[in-house]
Symmetry: C2
Subunit: 228 residues, 2 copies
DNA sequence: AATACAATTCATGTATACAAAATGCAAATG
DNA sequence: CATTTGCATTTTGTATACATGAATTGTATT
């Protein structure tokens, strides 16, 4: 069962609450813990080999992040994901990704520009392996460079958070090989726009990128809901 | 009526962690707790008349929100606010406020449009009282209507969070009576743009609004830092 | 007087204990 | 037969206890 895969990474030298937080977070984002599933403290504590205290503190953070919802006197459960909530996330992300692209035009360094070029090539390479995990990693790496180039830490934090909300669905999206050519092309346009310092073009390209992602994700979630 | 009573009671039975969270949050945002100040659990627990547990859980939320920073084995302290961090917040908020204005053009209801008109008038009235608290409240009410009109809950949450990061400084800004005329005018432009469903104008007006706020806030924080 | 070092204090990190509320089920009641 | 009442169980909410690491103070020595 999926639950049995929940393991604490003891190598990390972090307070237990952070280890638990990261563990639960990942489990929720990957779909290992499914929407609506109850998070019972004693159960989790036993499973992760810690006391309730770190579990509770981790849940408080997940609560603020919107990954779990609290029901008074009943505890936490994994937040339900609706088509609407995903659309909301994408709508915000669309604006922030466009902002990232614009700011990157203004602020990207020579070195980062080189990294971005490499990341584009890396993504193209990754699609050839047809390994979804590899492709996803290359995609994240590419976007991370652009986001980091803004030099705005708050923006980095927010965009990453929003992006992670869709990890579950993005995976299915990336597996679809018919999309790969389009993705490579979109990345190329974004890269070239930033190279030219063309804010408008970069922002527009980033928006197109998200819009296409939205189509796939919405299709995916409708499939999911249909199966229920 | 029985329902109403139940509702009131429910509010009073908020978990202590939430009471503590709200209390500390407000204290930080109003400047009652100053940047760099240590948040010692036992001390706070005694002060608020609760045990350490709710205090700790509240701190975990404040930590994720960025209002406190954790130092390992040393505890929490109120997050330092730098010019850079405020600029970062404003940069993101500028984009999101523009998004709110655009979305409001598309989605605002007749009823909300009426509320917006009233809120504009209410703000103008409030400036006449010269009571900064009243003015601030009217300003928040006006913006809340626009943000709510987007119908995007995630966006509401994010914009509110970003706005609150500047409560301290915004207050000084609002006290400055020479700015009142300009503020009224800016609100009017935003209102009229939304009425005309002119997305571009609304977004532009929202950005101008934030840019002006940025000027004041930056001046304010430089004063603050100078005094140290 | 200044520095090194040990003892003590203090705060955090974690675990456990206890109280109160909610849930489920079964027996009792109409 | 449906509904309610009471009890046991479960789970959260809160408090407290214990252990470890960090800081500080005081003392002794140079």
């Amino acid at each position: 069962m999926a639950k049995d895969q929940l393991q604490v990474n003891m190598d990390e030298f972090l307070p237990l609450r952070d280890v638990v937080f990261n563990t639960l977070r990942k489990a929720i984002l990957t779909g290992e813990l499914k929407p609506g599933e109850r998070l019972m403290e004693i159960h989790l504590a036993a499973r992760l080999g810690v006391s309730r205290t770190p579990i509770r503190e981790a849940i408080r953070k997940l609560e603020l992040e919107g990954l779990v919802t609290m029901i008074p006197r009943r505890g936490a459960e994994v937040a339900q994901i609706t088509e609407k909530s995903l659309k909301d996330v994408l709508e915000v992300r669309r604006a922030l990704d466009a902002l990232c692209a614009e700011l990157a035009c203004d602020r990207i360094s020579e070195e980062e520009m080189g990294q971005l070029r490499e990341a584009c090539a890396g993504f193209e390479e990754a699609t050839k392996t047809k390994d979804a995990t590899m492709i996803a990693k290359a995609d994240v790496a590419l976007h991370d460079i652009i986001v980091a180039a803004t030099g705005n830490r708050r923006l980095v934090q927010l965009v990453n958070n929003l992006a992670e909300q869709m990890y579950r669905y993005r995976f299915e999206y990336i597996k679809d090989e018919s999309q790969h050519e389009r993705l490579i092309e979109e990345h190329r346009i974004i890269y070239e726009s930033i190279l030219r310092k063309d804010r408008q073009a970069a922002a527009a390209a980033a928006k197109v990128h998200i819009d296409n992602q939205e189509k796939s994700v919405m299709q995916q979630i409708r499939l999911d809901n249909g199966q229920k």
